[in-house]
């Protein structure tokens, strides 16, 4: 039997986890009806994934996108390791936050639903969050900008239609909105949002659902191994880099800037590893270019490395991010093959991205 290629989106919520999936021949993701209690350890993930009908072996999952309520280094590594332990190949595993999942979902719908701005209201026991998706073209770049705000004044146990109407007017009046998505259990309790819904539905298309994030993640997972259609967009939202980081190099005797991480990349996945041979330089120059056009330069001294003949040192230069604002560059001595053995020397440099800049 021919092996299927599975793409899976997993929304690991605070309380429950939802699974959506796509495989060959499907045009849209399916969501499992079952909601799985989010476990303390990642062993619960295996149970969730094995519930996918037709999936016989977890190694058949070619792309999996995990949505984490809070994307931290520790949580991302735990989730990634859990997938590896289950036999899912490392290159198939990706993590993202809720904001990114929202964007993937919105962009996967027909274009008329995101011609203008798109609004999301996420209402759960943790409160109500308003997100606005706005698309802007800058030359050849299409930026997808998602802003969000926690709304106060809407109580989960006793939500006020009047208050919600007031907030909706405040954020949406006299604006062109293509679609509104109402997400979360808060909108499924008795029909409380009558007047506000009437307002929202006026000249806009409104959708209600509980599985927007898991579906968005599944779309993203599927796209990774098929069209890569989302690569044309520059994501400007939580968990995406606000700046590009490059290193100044010489290539064929011409000065160039080699990008190690690009703005719009997911910070956890924005990692680079290169090797370079310094040519009569005493420091490396790293350039940080923010999306609003500011540029700063960070220097890393090479004085810790031994003096050798010209171009007789190969350096390993790596960049990883530990958060959206904080990257770490590590430079390690590799010697020069069998001509010069490597010494156990490495230096590090913090790279900070200030979103306020």
């Amino acid at each position: 039997m021919q092996e299927k290629n599975w793409s899976v989106g997993v929304d690991i919520g605070v309380r429950v986890t939802q699974i959506s999936y796509m495989t060959d021949g499907m045009k849209e993701p399916e969501t499992l009806e079952e909601l799985f209690p989010t476990g303390e350890d990642e062993g619960f993930l295996k149970e969730c994934l094995l519930a996918i009908p037709g999936l016989e072996n977890l190694s058949e999952i070619k792309s999996i996108q995990l949505v984490l309520p809070e994307l931290t280094l520790e949580k991302a590594e735990k989730a990634g390791q859990a997938c590896l332990d289950m036999g899912i190949p490392r290159e198939a595993v990706h993590v993202q936050g809720v904001a990114e999942a929202s964007i993937y979902f919105a962009l996967s719908q027909e274009k008329s639903l995101w011609n203008n701005d798109v609004v999301f209201f996420d209402f759960s026991r943790e409160g109500m969050i308003y997100r606005n998706l706005h698309i802007e073209k800058y030359g050849n770049t299409t930026a997808v900008i998602l802003t969000e705000k926690k709304l106060s004044g809407i109580d989960y146990e006793n939500p006020s239609d009047e208050e919600f109407l007031r907030l909706s007017r405040e954020y949406m009046d006299r604006r062109l909105i293509s679609a509104v998505y109402l997400i979360g259990e808060g909108f499924y309790k008795e029909e409380w949002a009558t007047e506000s819904l009437r307002f929202l539905c006026s000249r806009r298309r409104v959708f209600k659902g509980l599985n927007l994030y898991t579906k968005g993640a599944a779309y993203a997972a599927y796209d990774r191994i098929h069209m890569n259609a989302y690569e044309q967009f520059l994501f400007v939202c939580e968990n995406r880099l606000w700046a590009s980081v490059g290193i100044r190099i010489l290539y064929k005797e011409q000065a160039r800037l080699l990008y190690l991480a690009k703005a719009g990349m997911n910070w956890y996945e924005a990692r680079a590893l290169i090797e370079a041979i310094p040519d009569e330089v005493t420091e490396l120059s790293f350039v940080v270019q923010t999306l609003n056009g500011r540029e700063t330069e960070e220097k890393l001294s090479l004085e810790a490395f031994p003096a050798r003949g010209r171009r007789m040192t190969r350096l390993e230069i790596s960049l990883v991010f530990v958060s959206e604002e904080h990257g770490i560059v590590t430079v390690r001595d590799l010697g020069f093959g069998s001509f010069i053995p490597a010494e156990d020397i490495s230096v590090q440099k913090d790279i900070w991205i200030d979103k306020g800049q």
Binding site: K252, E253, I277, R311, M312, R314, F336, G337, F339
Partner: protein, 239 residues
Amino acid sequence: MIAENKIEIWSLEELCYYLYENAYRITEDFFSQELAEYLREELDLGTVADKLMALKKNEADFLEYILAVCQVANYYGQEELLRLVQGLQAFAVLSRPERLKQLADSRIKEHLYAQAVREYEAILALKYKEGYDRSFEGKIYHNMGIAYAKMLLYREAEECFKHAQELLEEPEIRKNLLLLYYLAGNTRQYEDTAALFSEEERQELLEEWEAVRKTAKVENGRNEAVIEKWKQEYRAEMS
């Protein structure tokens, strides 16, 4: 990884470095099928491998092989490659003894003194077969003397310098003899040779040697250890 002269080469940059530093020694045979396969399989440089094989088919000059690799490697700049080309072109028109002398001289720069001595002796053995003049022979003896002196084998160095002096009228040879006696602590010979220089010349030389001596860091009590170490290395080279 390819093994050549017991050097393992693991990257295109190292290969480029090896070719550049040994350009005067390698021949077209170095650019073998095995090298092409290594470039293709290990370094993912199929286009370079194909180019080398095409050059081989056309029996190209070995300089073209070197440039084919170095231009892809981006390790040396255009000026450096031009210097290499010019150097190799000048080398190619030299007589065989002159080429061998250049190679032997490079051994001294590489601190391979015993190897240098062997190569100079080989050149001297070619004297009647290849034919060269007294001046050239004198230069061979002079440089061989340098190699011996670097190994602290002063007696052998002295013999070479004296041979050179008979064949070649060069003030440099007398200076090197003087330095040799100075290093060896041979006071009588030093004074006899020093008498051939003016007071001013002697003073200048002393200052020059003192600066060199300091950088060489030969200290009291270490000389014997250093000498023994070099002699052991010499014997190892000769065996």
